[in-house]
């Protein structure tokens, strides 16, 4: 087991711990912060997997954007004080489903033989850039369309609240 693997496991444990805390805590604010910590740990794992650009993007968009968005949402709605864990009448069914789904995910992850990329990995940024403008250019443009759609949709959602 190389040092890289050790690091990966450490980051994984941190990520899992943050995620667990985020789900179990009663304070919404701490939940969001835990999410931020989780995303940072995942960014670390991306970097370890030679996806350095993705790692930095993760920080930029997720931690610097999505977490901020969530904090705004929280702070604009006066909650954040102690929230009781979501009470539901169907707790038995819920936990059963959770176990089943979780079990499936674990089984699928552990059981899959993922291919190992041989040799040196190409430097991620030029590789990504060339792919986006070359073979994957369709995907690139579609991304543009999706983002435009996202703006329209987001505004539609937000503005309807004004009524």
């Amino acid at each position: 087991m190389t040092a890289s693997d050790v690091l990966f496991i450490i980051f994984g444990v941190i990520a899992a711990a943050c995620a667990l805390y985020g789900v179990l805590t009663r304070y919404l604010l701490r939940s969001i912060v835990a999410l931020g910590a989780f995303l940072t740990a995942v960014a670390g794992e991306f970097y370890l997997l030679a996806a350095d650009f993705v790692a930095v993007v993760q920080i930029f968009v997720y931690v610097g954007g999505i977490v901020v968005l969530m904090l705004f949402a929280l702070m604009l709605s006066t909650s954040g004080e102690r929230q009781p864990l979501a009470g539901s009448d169907r707790r038995g069914l819920g936990s059963l489903l959770a176990y089943v789904l979780g079990g499936m995910v674990v089984w699928a992850t552990v059981g899959t033989r993922l291919p190992v990329v041989p040799g040196r990995l190409p430097a991620s940024v030029p590789y990504l850039g060339r792919a986006l403008l070359g073979g994957q250019v369709f995907a690139f443009e579609v991304l543009g369309v999706i983002l435009l759609a996202a703006v329209v949709a987001a505004l539609a959602l937000v503005r309807s609240e004004r009524l």
């Binding site: 912060v33 350095d52 650009f53 993007v57 920080i59 702070m75 991620s124």
Partner: protein, 321 residues
């Protein structure tokens, strides 16, 4: 084994960086007071030590031993995390800055994006600090500060993209070589202007300092903080200021390039000039209203940076071939 060495190297440089930022804050606070004084035709602190040089040291000692007042209702976790989350990213951004060609802590291959991404975490800190203080004014300050930060982040990023287009790399060290004949301020003047202006907004300096405006919100998101925690915010601010100035030097002024003198000297010199310009602007211009500020970001700077990007790309292609 080499892993442990790298870890130690990282740790050591972390200590160095933190101390450096501390020193920078010390010097800049005094510098700011002297510069502002001159511009306002007065003298500024001159009593403590020769020429007032020990003034900030005295301030620091005072801050360290000051009582750590915490308002009653403040959420303890958020209250403590806030200042840390603003200060830590500011220092972290120093990792990729080359102080003269070989003198960089770590030349990350994605250094430029790293530099822009890490301060994004500062926003989370701002929000936590404002919220945790359980006070309308702090809260409002934190919100405004965050909104301002994210609004100006895009034009700033786009301006940097133009530089990356010309340089062909996201590695900060490559930027030094790329500007060997001509610094980018000549090739990309609009990008430079956009960068400088948006950076002022990112660091909350006048004319964009509504979130801290003394006459408006008392002290904004850090109203309720005292002593060392409060100083962490200032560390963050001045650290980020210098980091941004250093980045500007790197992106547009050719970093450590220059004849005769060693690269470090050139770099520090140029970056200090940029800092001086920032301070000069601060004490000369009045501040923007919150709505003017936001309008500027989205209706002026963002379209401008988009147009600039396309034009720069076009020209680059046309000339390059």
């Amino acid at each position: 084994m080499s892993t442990v060495l790298t870890l130690g190297e990282g740790f050591g440089l972390g200590v160095v960086a933190f101390t450096l930022v501390g020193a920078i804050t010390t010097v800049f606070v005094l510098l700011e007071r002297r510069v502002s004084a001159r511009i306002q035709m007065r003298v500024g602190p001159t009593r403590t030590g020769p020429h007032g040089l020990l003034q900030t040291i005295a301030d620091i000692v005072k801050l360290l031993v000051k009582e750590d007042v915490r308002p009653e209702y403040a959420d303890p976790v958020a209250f403590r995390l806030g200042p840390m989350l603003t200060a830590v990213p500011a220092v972290l951004s120093f990792v990729v800055i080359p102080f003269g060609a070989p003198l960089v802590m770590r030349a990350l291959n994605v250094g430029i994006v790293y530099f822009l991404a890490v301060p994004g975490m500062t926003v989370v800190g701002l929000l936590l600090a404002g919220w945790a203080s359980y006070d309308n004014y702090s809260f409002l300050g934190g919100l405004r500060s965050s909104a301002q930060f994210i609004s100006y982040e895009i034009p700033r990023t786009l301006a940097v993209v133009t530089v990356v287009m010309l340089a062909g790399s996201l590695n900060t060290v490559d930027l030094l070589d790329a500007q060997k004949p001509v610094p980018y301020i000549v090739l990309l003047p609009v990008s430079f202007v956009i960068y400088m202006a948006t950076t002022l907004a990112e660091v909350n300096r006048i004319p964009f300092d509504i979130p801290e405006a003394e006459s408006e919100l008392v002290a904004g998101y850090h109203t309720e903080y005292s002593g060392f925690r409060w100083s962490l915010f200032f560390l963050a601010e001045y650290g980020a200021l210098y980091a941004a100035a250093a980045f500007a030097t790197l992106l547009f002024l050719g970093g450590g390039n220059g004849p005769v003198l060693p690269a470090v000297v050139w770099f520090v010199g140029k970056s200090l000039v940029v800092v001086f310009v920032f301070m000069w602007v601060r004490w000369t211009l009045p501040r923007f209203r919150a709505d003017q500020l936001m309008r500027l970001a989205w209706k002026v700077f963002l379209p401008a940076s988009l147009v600039n990007l396309v034009l720069a790309a076009f020209v680059m292609m046309a000339v390059g071939s």
